[in-house]
C-alpha cells in the first residue's frame, strides 16, 4: 500500500506543482479512462470448482494518469487504477445456492520517467525509461501473443487478459529508433508478478518495418538472469528416468530452476498495401492484416517434465477480418497452438522450485486456443470492446491485482487456466470512456 500511496501522492503533488507554480517548462496533461465490463464463463473445465460454468464476472474500473513534460526532453508519467469486481457463481454440485464475491482494489498502473535524446524528442533516436511502464512490442496482437513477457518458463505458462494485451514491467528500458525503420529495445526488468519476486531479467528486442507491407521482429529474454535469492529460483534436483539417480551436468548436479532463455519472433503482413493506392479505400486501416508470433519458453530440455521443447513452443496466427461494412475499428481472429499437455501436473514435493505448487493442467488433446476480439469507437471518448473465445483465461480476482490475473503458479489451484477442455469458452464486453 505504501508504494501505491506514494505513487498517488506523487501524482497529486506533480499536478499541483504544475498547476500552481506556473513553471513554463513543465506541461502537465491529465487523462483518465473508466469502464464498465461484464463477462461470463459459459463453459469451463471446472478444474478447481471455484468458477463453474455460467459464472458471471462484472467490474467497474477507473484509471487516472498525469503526464508531465519537463523541458521537452523529460516525460514523467504517473497513473493509478481502482476497480470493483463482482463474481456471481451458480450452485456447484449438490449445493442449493450459489455464491457471490466482491472485491475492490487499487494499484499503481504506471510510474516512469522517459528521457529522449536528440533534437526532436518526438522522434528521438535514443530513449531511456526507468520505472514501472507498459510495454507492447507486437502492435497487431489483440489478445494472444506478446509472449516474451507474458509467459513463464519451467513450468511454461501463458497469460491472456482481456483489453490488456501488453506487459507491465519494472526496471530500465533503453530504446533506439534508427532511420525510422529499425527499432531496438534493451530491457533490464525485475519480476513483480510471480514468485520468487525481484529476480532480474535481461531482454533484447529488434523490430524492422521497411514499409507498410511488412513488419517483423524478434527478441530474446534471459528470464531471471540475476536471482535475488538463488535458492528460491533454483532448487530441486533433477533425477534420471529411474527417479533415483541425480542428473549431472558439467560436473554439477542439475537442478530445476525458473531461469530460462526465451526466444520470440513475429511478423505481420498487410496485403492491401500491394494494391494501387485508392484501390481498396473501402477497407479500414487494420482490415486484412495477417500476423503471427511464436516463442520458445525455455530453450533447454531437461528432466522428465521439460524434455520436449516442442511443448514449450506456442505459435499464434491472427487475421484482421475486414469490417468496414460494420464500422468496427478492428475485428481480430487469433488462433494459437500450444502443446504443453500435462493433464495431471502437480510438482512433487522437494523436487522443483515450484514445490507443492500447481501448474496449468491442460488436457492432452486440447492444444488449440482461439479468440475473436472486436473494438468499436462509437464517438470520440467512447468505445466498446468485446471478446469471445477459448483463450488462456484465468480468474481475474483480487489476489494478484498487479497482474490483473491470479498467479498461474501458486499454492492454490485458483490461478490455473479455466478453459482447457473441448468446448470451453467465455465472453466479455466492455464499455469504455477515455480522455
Amino acid at each position: 500500500m505504501n508504494g501505491k500511496r506514494l505513487l498517488l501522492i506523487s501524482g497529486v503533488l506533480l499536478w499541483l506543482h504544475a498547476a500552481y507554480a506556473g513553471d513554463p517548462d513543465i506541461k502537465v496533461t491529465p487523462s483518465a479512462s473508466v469502464y464498465f465490463q461484464i463477462g461470463q464463463l459459459e463453459q469451463t473445465f471446472n478444474q478447481s470448482l471455484s468458477l463453474p460454468d455460467k459464472t458471471w464476472d462484472q467490474r467497474c474500473d477507473l484509471r487516472l494518469n498525469l503526464n508531465a513534460t519537463v523541458q521537452d526532453h523529460l516525460r514523467i508519467i504517473v497513473g493509478a487504477e481502482a476497480a470493483m469486481v463482482t463474481q456471481v457463481q451458480p450452485p456447484i454440485g449438490n449445493q442449493s445456492t450459489g455464491t457471490t464475491s466482491s472485491s475492490s482494489y487499487a494499484f499503481p498502473r504506471e510510474g516512469q520517467g522517459i528521457y529522449s535524446f536528440g533534437d526532436d524528442p518526438e522522434n528521438s533516436f535514443l530513449q531511456i525509461a526507468l520505472g514501472y511502464f507498459p510495454f507492447k512490442y507486437n502492435p497487431q496482437a489483440s489478445n494472444m501473443g506478446e509472449y516474451l513477457f507474458r509467459t513463464g518458463t519451467y513450468p511454461p505458462f501463458l497469460i491472456n487478459d482481456f483489453g490488456d494485451c501488453e506487459a507491465r514491467l519494472l526496471g530500465l528500458r533503453v530504446s533506439s529508433n534508427l532511420f525510422g525503420k529499425l527499432r531496438l529495445d534493451a530491457l533490464f526488468t525485475s519480476e513483480t508478478y510471480y514468485n520468487p519476486l525481484g529476480d532480474y531479467s535481461l531482454s533484447l528486442l529488434a523490430g524492422f518495418k521497411p514499409n507498410r507491407i511488412i513488419d517483423v521482429g524478434a527478441g530474446v529474454s534471459w528470464n531471471r538472469l540475476i536471482a535475488l535469492d538463488p535458492q528460491a529460483t533454483t532448487s530441486g534436483i533433477v533425477y534420471a528416468s529411474d527417479g533415483i539417480t541425480p542428473v549431472m551436468e558439467n560436473g554439477d548436479t542439475l537442478r530445476y530452476t525458473f531461469q530460462g532463455t526465451k526466444l520470440m519472433a513475429r511478423v505481420s503482413f498487410d496485403p492491401k498495401q500491394l494494391f494501387p493506392e485508392g484501390f481498396l479505400d473501402f477497407l479500414g486501416k487494420e482490415d486484412g492484416k495477417l500476423y503471427g508470433e511464436t516463442a520458445i519458453l525455455g530453450l533447454k530440455d531437461y528432466g522428465s517434465y521439460y524434455n520436449d521443447i516442442m511443448k514449450r513452443w506456442p505459435a499464434m496466427v491472427g487475421f484482421n477480418i475486414p469490417t468496414t461494412k460494420w464500422g468496427l475499428d478492428v475485428l481480430s481472429l487469433e488462433l494459437e497452438y500450444f502443446a504443453f499437455n500435462y493433464d495431471q501436473f502437480t510438482f512433487p514435493p522437494g523436487s522443483t522450485p515450484t514445490d507443492g505448487l500447481n501448474a496449468d493442467k491442460y488436457l492432452s488433446d486440447n492444444f488449440f486456443h482461439w479468440s475473436l476480439f472486436a473494438t468499436k469507437t462509437v464517438v470520440g471518448g467512447l468505445s466498446i470492446k468485446g471478446l469471445i473465445g477459448k483463450d488462456h483465461y484465468r480468474n481475474t480476482g483480487s489476489t494478484s491485482p498487479w497482474a490483473g490475473v491470479d498467479n498461474p503458479v501458486s499454492s492454490s489451484s485458483d490461478g490455473g487456466e479455466l478453459l482447457v477442455a473441448h468446448g470451453d469458452w467465455h465472453y466479455t464486453l466492455r464499455v469504455m470512456y477515455s480522455f
Binding site: 487523462s31 450452485p91 450459489g98 487499487a106 462509437v378 464517438v379 467512447l382 464499455v431 477515455s434
Partner: protein, 431 residues
Amino acid sequence: MNLKISLFIYAAVFGFQVIHADEPDVKVLPSGFAYYQIGQLVSTSDPTGIITGIPDKSWDQHANFRLTLEGVVRERLRIIAGAELGMATFAGGGGQPTTVTTAFSLKEAQGIYSFGEDLRSPFLQVVLGYFPYKYDPQATNMGEYLFSYRTGAYAPYIINDFDNCKSRLLGLRISSTVFGSFKNDVLLTSEMPVGGGKGNWPIGDYSLSWLTGYKFEKIFDAGAGICFNRLIPIDPSQTTPASAIALNSAGLPIIQNGDTLHLTMKAIKLMARFSFDPKRVLPVDWISDFAPEDGKLYMETAILGLQNYGAFYNYDDIYQRWPVMVGFDIPTTKWGLDFLSLELEYYGWRENLTIPQGTPMANTTQDQYSGQQMFRWSLFAQKTLVKGFCIKGLVGKDHYRTVDAGGSVTNEELLRGNGNWHYNLKFMYQF
C-alpha cells in the same frame, strides 16, 4: 442471459449511435477535496462494547482526499473519473484496541451524454457507469430511501452516513427534464456491496427504477419513485433460495398461486417526497433576510417491500417496513450558516431476531431494534467560512454505523437504545 447482454449493448449504444465519430475536442477539469472529520459515539446501545466492541465514548476520525478528473468531449460527452484515498482511526474506550485503516477506492466512473440544444438543462441524458445519485435535494442525513445503498427489503434496513446522503449506483441512467420542472429518471442498476455484508447480498442483481419529480416555481417540489429491486437476478438460487420457504403462523409452508412461497430478496419499493418553501409565498421584501434554505419544510416516506408474506420476521406487517422522515430547515441567517436541518424519522420495524440459515440473508445479522425505539432524529449544520473551506456538523440519534476508510459501513446500527446519540464534525477544503 441473453437479456442481460442485450441490455448491456443497448445501454452502450443507445443514445450514442447517432453521433459521428470525429476527432474529440477535449477539455479537462480537475477537482478535488480534502477533509478531516472527528466524531464520537457518546452513548450507544452497547455501552461497554462487550457485544460490538464499540463502547460509549468511542472516537471515530477520518482524513480523506479525493481527486476527480472530468473530461468534456465535444461538449456533449462528459467523462468523470474520481478516486479517493482515506484513512480512518477508531479509538474505542474502556481498553478497546485502536484501529487504523487506509483505503484507495473508486468513487465515480461514468460517462454522461446530453441531448438537446441547451446543454445546461438537456432534455435527455444517458449515463453509464458508477455514479452518485441523489433524488431528494432537501434530505441532508435521513431519507433517500429508494436504493439498496440506503435501504433494503426483506429484511428491511436503513443506512445513514454523515455527509453522504445519496446513493452510488452502478449501471445505466436515462434522465429527461421537460419544461424545466418535470423530471423523470429510469435506472437499470446492478447491486453493489455497501459494505460489511449489510443486507445487499447477493450482489450483481439488476434493479429497475423509475422516479419522477415536479417542481413548481420555488414553492414546492414533489416526487415519487418505484424500484423493482433485483428484478433480474444473476443467480436466482441466491436471490430466492429454494430452501427459504415462507411459513405461516402454524409453521406450515405458504402456498400462493399453486406454488410454495419462498422468501426472496426481490421486492418492490415505493417512495414519495415533498418539500415546501413557505417564504416564497410572502412578499419579496419580507424574506430578503433569509437564506435560500431557511424555513423549508420537507418529508420523505417509503415502503421497503410492498408484499406481505410469512409469519416470521414481521414480513406480514407492511407498517413495519414504512419509514417516514420529516425535516425543517431552521432559519439561521442570524448565525450565518448555510443551513441547519432538523430531521425526524419514524420507523416501526420491531424485529430483533437473527436471520436463520436457509434464507436469502443467512449468515448476516439484521438490525435488532427493541420494541419501543421507533424514532430517530438528527441536526445537521453547514457553514462556508471562505470559498473552498467549510465546516459541517451533525448531532443525533440516526441509523449510525461505523464506516471504514473506503466508505463501507458495518453491519449493525449502534444507536438503538433510549438516549443514544453521537456527533460528527468535518473540516473540508475543496476546489
